[in-house]
Amino acid sequence: MSGAIRAPRRVLVLGADGFIGRRVLEALGGCDWAHPIAAGRRIAAQPAADGEAERIRLDATDEQALVKVLRNVDAVVNCVAGKAQTIIDNGHALFAAAENSGRPRIVHLSTMSVYGSATGVVDETSRLHGDLGAYCVAKLTAEYNALHYRRSVILRPGCVYGPGSPQWSGRIAGWLRAGRIGDLGIAGDGWSNLVHVDDVVQAVLRSLTREVEGEIFNLAQPSPPTWNEYFLRYGKALGCVPVQRISARKLKLETRLLAPPLKVAERLGRRFGLHDLPDAIPSSLLGLFRQEIRLDVRKASERLGMRWTPLKQGIEQTAAWYRTGEREARAIEGRIA
């Protein structure tokens, strides 16, 4: 492979207990050139064992702690997610620590949110907007740090779906099951910019092994479905049929009447250990469903040699995962009963 780097390499995965971090860790575990190290705030320290990655407890917002760890790694995959302040603090700490340690390559997972309210086709040179709330600003700030670090590769995935995706697969499936979303008409005309989690992992691995330092890549289906199309296809794959047309009136009720109490219930639920409460559909999400922004992914296709997961395959796989989860949940409920 042209530009391939000497193996094996010690690769630190920050946020390894999250959805994408876990998948990256698994994939690295299967690479003969990589020695993955899982790091996370809630991870219990554990040396590498047969088939298991080395695990360390690490606060990814603690610069001093990061400096110590980064001295002994060749590369970092930054999958840290969370609250806006966590993302900002992680951006400052990680790249500052990297400058003061071995200057490892850092694959930084950003997001399409950095394009803010932009519409039309956006490529990696398009203007960034921090106009969609705290998360968007936080991701922009973190990217700013990454951009100033010479050995970074920035990935800007769209909406990451696939087995295990809580946000764009699990939550959506629940809403489809409940008939709370479906064909949204005008409200679902935006491009979904879905990207399969396997494709994100593939992009991470290639960013670690190709001469792409200093580059930025959009990641999404090359011909993404609209949100309406996604909901229809996913709904059908889940067996939530007929997929309902959701009126503008019903969506207003969701976001204006239902969302506030559900949000409060969710917070209370977290405190009291209740996890099965229905998710609120925030109005910001409806904004995204309408937003006609389309990621141009030609650069990732060419430079990273991406082979994108066909949408049909991705949706079927995801629906199968969700149905299995439901069956298991029902079985557990049955045993408890």
């Binding site: 519409t119 008409g185 005309d189 059908k236 049929v241 997929v243 047309r245 009126s247 009136r249």
Partner: protein
């Protein structure tokens, strides 16, 4: 989105493509061209809502008011056009519809179904009729209850579907996309009253646009597309007579002729032996949420064998005006007919005067069937009034398995059935239309023979019988006159300018840059409702224009530089003097 009344001193507009009419065809074309690099100007006569003075521009006269509704009915002169009131019934044309059939005079398209097949799925998406699947066998993965259990026929298929749009108002649904499209401008209150040919007579140089505020402007474009509906397209061509008193594209007196609607009516009584559950005449909901309905479609071989046009029939509730049906909701509809829009209420009136006794019987039906009526009203409120995808029509499941038969048939092209310009002019000085719709003996035969065959097949199947008076066929098929809203054939497609107006690309013969996107170009009418095919043809035309733009040869080099396609990323045409309409 701009308004012609707010253009200030600006009196000239130009674009690469000027589309006249923002209905199903015009909006579909504008959307299809939005990313083409071409500057598109979409002219709409009306505003965002219905306006009485604008709607009055559609007024005209009809030769026989019993045979055709007034020209300002079933048409809407506003953004979205007649999709603001349509019923949403969709199905593609059949392959036989495109054939030249020796038994059907003036039939035959210069294109086949294969020319439209690449565009139908996208058209289906635009009209929001779900998946492009029009056979029950491939549209549904689950097994459907049979339409008529035990019915077997070599001549009729009970498997074909009609799918229903929401019904989608193209204006409301796609305005946001047009607003977002950098190279599409929509100009409201812009009535094209005349097209002007250049000196050569082979190019439209400009269009005169007027509004009811007395202002006018001139629009020039590289290509003009008339998408203003089957009647108005002919009117504009005929009224553009500055250079030629015959109008544009009318050297052989074809414009306005061959005017077709559909032949439709309700007839007879279908009685089934056995319980009601063996008959299903209602809607089936597809997995994508679309309402679908099966019908009895006369197969192509049977049409050829009998030498008749295309024909379909549906099981229908009994005639509403006759209180003998004893169904509360049907009687309520009769009693409330004054409050039902003309386009939907026409068939509630009939030509027979309702006596006091009839009214009383209808009232009795409502009272005696109060629970049934209340249940229906709840269903209607929930599934029609409040729903965004609306339950398409009234379905009443009778207490005994008796139905009437609703039919919808192809009308044969007839040069004597036509629209012309009258002496009267509208508020903009444009001559009003005179509609002289006619049917033929062949049309009667299409219905008569189809019904005969269906009655025979039902009887042979041993499932029941279809009783009707064969002598009443012509009366029933013309009881309410031409089927409203389907305006077909006035600028028909063909290869010979002596018998057609546009060529296979929908370009007006002899005029290099004038195209028509409308049911006006259909040489034959099929049994199918026209909107889906109108949209498919519009998408095909958009594709043709994109191809033309890529291979454009500069006729006037300076002109090409001004109006040729621009690469993505350049600024759109200046609109600084124009104020946007919210």
């Amino acid at each position: 989105m701009l308004d012609s009344t707010e253009l200030g001193d600006r009196r000239d507009l130009s674009a690469d493509v000027c589309i006249v009419g923002a209905g199903a065809a015009g909006i579909s074309m504008a959307l299809a061209l939005a990313d083409s690099g071409l500057e598109v100007l979409l002219l709409e006569s009306g505003g965002l809502d219905t306006e009485a003075d604008t709607q009055a521009l559609y007024a005209g006269s009809v030769a026989d008011p019993r045979m055709h509704s007034p020209p300002d009915r079933y048409r809407q002169r506003r953004f979205g056009g007649s999709t603001t009131i349509w019923g949403g019934r969709c199905m593609p044309f059949d392959a036989i519809d495109f054939e030249a059939r020796d038994y059907l005079p003036h039939s035959g398209w210069p294109i086949g179904l294969d020319a439209l097949l690449p565009y139908y799925p996208e058209a289906n998406k635009l009209v929001e009729a779900g998946e492009y699947a029009y056979q029950a066998g491939n549209a549904f993965t689950r097994k459907l209850a049979p339409m008529m259990r035990g019915f077997t026929s070599e001549d009729f298929s009970a498997d074909t579907l009609e799918r229903f749009s929401c019904p989608t108002d193209f204006g409301r649904r796609y305005a946001h996309k047009l607003r977002a499209a950098q190279r599409v401008r929509v100009l409201l209150h812009a009535n094209v009253t005349e097209l002007h040919l250049g000196e050569s007579g082979h190019m439209v140089e400009a269009a005169t646009v007027r509004n009811l505020a007395g202002q006018h402007l001139r629009v020039s474009a590289r290509w003009f597309v008339l998408a203003s509906g089957g009647l108005e397209v002919a009117r504009l061509l005929l009224a553009s007579r500055s250079q030629d008193p015959r109008g544009i594209g009318n050297a052989h007196d074809v414009v306005g002729r061959y005017y077709m609607c559909h032949i439709a009516g309700t007839i007879g009584t279908l009685s089934f032996d056995g319980p009601d559950a063996q008959v299903w005449h209602g809607y089936d909901v597809a997995d994508d949420g679309t309402y679908c309905r099966r019908r009895l479609a006369l197969k192509a071989d049977a049409q050829r064998r009998l030498g008749i046009g295309n024909f379909i029939a549906r099981l229908h509730h009994p005639r509403i005006t006759d209180p003998a049906h004893r169904t509360g909701i049907l009687s309520l509809l009769f009693l409330a007919r004054a409050f039902i829009p003309y386009e939907y209420g026409k068939r509630l009136h009939g030509e027979e005067g309702a006596s006091f006794g009839t009214w009383m019987q209808h009232c009795r039906n409502v009272l005696m069937d109060a629970f049934g009526t209340a249940g229906f009203l709840w269903h209607w409120l929930r599934d029609r009034t409040l729903a965004e995808r609306k339950f398409p029509s009234i379905i009443v499941h009778p207490r005994v398995p008796r139905y009437s038969l609703d039919f919808h048939a192809e009308q044969e092209p007839n040069p004597e059935s036509r629209v012309t310009l009258g002496e009267e002019v509208d508020a903009l000085g444009m001559p009003r239309l005179v509609v002289d719709w006619r049917y033929t003996h062949g049309d009667v035969e299409t219905v008569r023979r189809s019904l005969l065959l269906l009655a025979r097949d039902i009887q042979h199947s041993g499932i029941g019988r279809f009783d009707y008076d064969p002598n009443s066929v012509e009366f029933e098929m013309t009881r309410y006159g031409a089927y409203g809203g389907h305006h077909i054939g006035t600028t028909r497609m063909g290869t010979d300018p002596r018998s057609s107006v546009v060529d296979a690309d929908c370009r007006v013969h002899g005029v290099d840059n004038l195209y028509i996107a409308s049911a006006a170009v259909f040489p034959t009418s099929s049994q199918a409702n026209p909107t889906l095919t109108v949209v498919a043809l519009a998408l095909r035309l958009a594709n043709h224009l994109k191809t033309q733009a890529r291979r454009v040869v500069p006729l006037f080099p300076n002109e090409v530089q001004r109006s040729g396609p621009r690469p993505q990323g350049e600024s759109p045409a200046p609109a600084d003097t124009m104020r946007a309409v919210s």
